[in-house]
Amino acid sequence: MTLVMVVDDDQDLAEMLGIVLTGAGIDVDLVSRGDEVMDVFHNNPPDLVLLDVMLPGLDGIEVCKLIRAESMVPIVMLSAKGDTQDVVKGLEAGADDYMVKPFRHPSELIARIRTRLRRTNADVSGLLTIGDLAIDVQAHQVLRAGKQIQLTRLEFDLLVALAKEPGRVFTRDALLSEVWGYRHSTDTRLVNVHVQRLRSKIEHDAEHPEIVITIRGVGYKAGVMGGS
């Protein structure tokens, strides 16, 4: 069964999240302090972490960095502040997605969690190449000159989405629906931040990207030409 770690200092909310997720057939580990996360994480590795930004002990952004340092597990941030800065900070710290409290419907939360847990690109098989990268979709691996590059599941999905149709220009909205499973969301920050993160891992020079190319005013595409 799927295990989700819920990190929130508000006992009632955490309990409520537990009730909703359990009702959807998901196991839940409740953690209320930021500094307790890593212990629980090591003892019982979850399939996904639901992480509040404001936490006692250690704040959510720091916790997010700690988890990212050793695991590619999907992380969804919960933010009570709709403020851009918080959201961007969370995404930059390695979160895959975020939800602003209060959520419209519990079903929305569950849908997001399922999207993050689902194996996307099941339809794509074999080996994709983009630039000087080789992508083994089934094995979930990205190789450059035989060396593996560590990507989170979301970064991998983003790269595969672009690579399976090289040369096609994806709008940010198209990527949001393809990779994040949103229907007409207007929040393109998610795409921008993750493209930056992906570039920092796969590009030779993130300032002059050759693999994920920005099309000004439209979106992104995978570079067709082979890399250096």
């Binding site: 508000d10 909310l13 404001m54 009570a80 409290k101 209060p102 207007t186």
Partner: protein
């Protein structure tokens, strides 16, 4: 030329020096003229006195010799006349030339004529006015004149004359003419010295003024430079105060002002930070329990079918009111962000025509419930703008929801017009409309057009006022028109690039279909 005017207009030092020099020129001119006239009249008087004394003695000597020659032969008298002229006349015509002229008095009919002028002096050099006076007066008479020579040449001179009796020849007028060339030379010399002194004085005054003004202007310029930097935002700038004079008072005053301004700014910044913090805290503190509440209500709501009807209906109301509560909270937070001036614009490129269609689609169901429909008319199939899409969407939703609320089962027309520079969206309904009082208050917070009207959409009462703030944040404008019973027209005009100002209104506020 323009540069010179610019310099005069904009340089305090130049203005002060110019006005000082002009004023000094006047003073120097007046003193110079006074000095000049006193000196020349003094010199003339001294010269005149000595000339008169000399003339008197000469004429007296001549009369005496003519008296002695009484009864002699004509040749002897001629000899005496020649002697008199020779002794009274200088030989060379230098600056101190003295000439003698004998003119026969009118009425003298003696045959012998002794009329003569020494050194070829033109007898016409003696003015007729002087001659007339000589004939009347017994004593010496004088007048200034020009000495003209028959050979040419003219010298300023002084003519002094008296009647004399020449033996056997009757009455003659004897004139002694003194050259004033020397006196003129002296006066010219004095004039030129005065002029040179005046010019040097003016130059010195200009130099001194420049030095003094520089002393004053330098700290003023310094103050202006620091004030400019201060205005530009460097609030730590202070003037250097080194002396104990008025300039230092200026410096102290400026520094005190700067200090107080810096404190005020810091206080306001702090206030704004506190406000922002408060908003953020309230937001967080309210949102967390609200999240729990919503999830709990949804869980209850999802199994409402198993409750009896009153509990089931209560669950529905609970969910609906939580929705409304949440909207109200969001709107209040947004308003407080505007009040604290911390609302931020996140501009992205998007197609506003597409956005209008999407908003209309999202509200189509609500419109259908209210038996109305939204028709969209756009000149262009797509209009790209750079703006905060979240805010523009909120404005459009608020306008459409407002129109649906007041449409009275008549259609709603949405018009999109774009120019190179701006884009406008007009939302026209043909429902209850607005009277003049309502028009002035329609953007007020929590204002309701008609308190007796049921608020079915569960609006927060903040929608239009937030929409107005959103439009203004884009440097845009949101305006309302309405007539009771004739519907309303809301027009949003935005610059296609948010940092620019609106060029012109693209949709007339009074709808074209309206005839008063």
């Amino acid at each position: 030329m323009n540069r010179i005017f610019w310099t005069i207009r904009n340089s305090l030092a130049f203005k002060v020096i110019l006005s000082t020099v002009i004023l000094s020129l006047g003073v120097v001119w007046i003193t110079g003229s006074a000095l000049n006239s006193r000196l020349s009249s003094g010199i003339k008087e001294v010269n005149l006195n000595s000339a008169v004394v000399e003339a008197r003695s000469t004429i007296f000597t001549s009369e005496y010799r003519f008296l002695l020659a009484q009864g002699e032969k004509d040749s002897v008298v001629q000899q005496v006349v020649d002697d008199v002229i020779a002794s009274a006349t200088t030989l060379t015509s230098n600056e101190n030339t003295r000439e003698v002229v004998f003119i026969r008095s009118p009425g003298n009919t003696r045959p012998i004529n002794y009329e003569i002028a020494s050194n070829l002096l033109d007898p016409k050099s003696i003015p007729t006015t002087l001659s007339e006076r000589v004939r009347k007066e017994k004593d010496l008479v004088w007048q200034y004149t020009d000495m003209r020579y028959l050979a040419g040449g003219k010298i300023a001179g002084l003519a002094i004359g008296q009647k004399v009796q020449i033996p056997n020849a009757g009455q003659y007028e004897m004139y002694i003419v003194f050259s004033l060339a020397n006196e003129k030379k002296t006066l010219d010399l004095i004039n030129s010295y005065l002029l040179i002194t005046g010019i040097i004085l003016l130059l010195l005054i200009a130099l001194i003024t420049w030095l003094v003004v520089r002393q004053v202007v330098k700290p003023v310029r310094e103050a202006a430079r620091i004030a400019t930097e201060f205005t530009a935002g460097d609030f730590r700038k202070r003037m250097k105060v080194e002396s104990q004079d008025e300039i230092s008072t200026l410096g102290h005053a400026f520094n005190e002002m700067a200090e107080s301004l810096e404190q005020q700014i810091a206080r306001l910044e702090n206030l704004s930070r506190v406000q922002q913090r408060f908003v953020s805290d309230v937001s967080h503190e309210l949102r967390t329990p609200l999240t729990t509440l919503r999830m709990a209500s949804e869980v209850i709501h999802s199994s409402k079918d198993s409750f009896d009807s009153t509990v089931s209906r209560s669950a529905e109301l609970l969910v609906a009111q939580l929705d409304r509560f949440e909207r109200l909270l969001e709107d209040l937070l947004e308003v407080s962000r505007f009040d604290a001036e911390v609302a931020v614009l996140e501009a992205v490129d998007f197609d506003i025509v597409q956005l209008v269609h999407r908003c209309a689609e999202d509200l189509a169901l609500v419109a259908k419930e209210r038996k109305t429909q939204i028709y969209i008319k756009s000149e262009e199939p797509s209009v790209m703008i750079k703006a905060d899409i979240r805010r523009v969407e909120r404005i459009l939703r608020n306008l459409l929801a407002n129109a649906i609320d007041h449409a009275e089962e008549v259609q709603i027309d949405v018009q999109i017009v774009a120019s190179e520079h701006d884009v406008a969206v007009g939302v026209r309904d043909y429902g209850v409309g607005l009277d003049e009082n309502a028009l002035t208050r329609v953007f007020d917070r929590f204002w309701r057009a008609d308190p007796s009207r049921a608020r079915t959409r569960g609006g927060t009462g903040l929608g239009l006022s937030i929409a107005l703030e959103d439009a203004r944040l884009h440097n845009g404008e949101l305006e309302a028109w309405g007539r009771p019973g004739r519907g309303a027209h809301f027009v949003m005009t935005l610059p296609r690039k948010t940092w620019e100002a609106i060029d012109r209104r693209l949709i007339p506020l009074q709808p074209e279909d309206y005839k008063a």
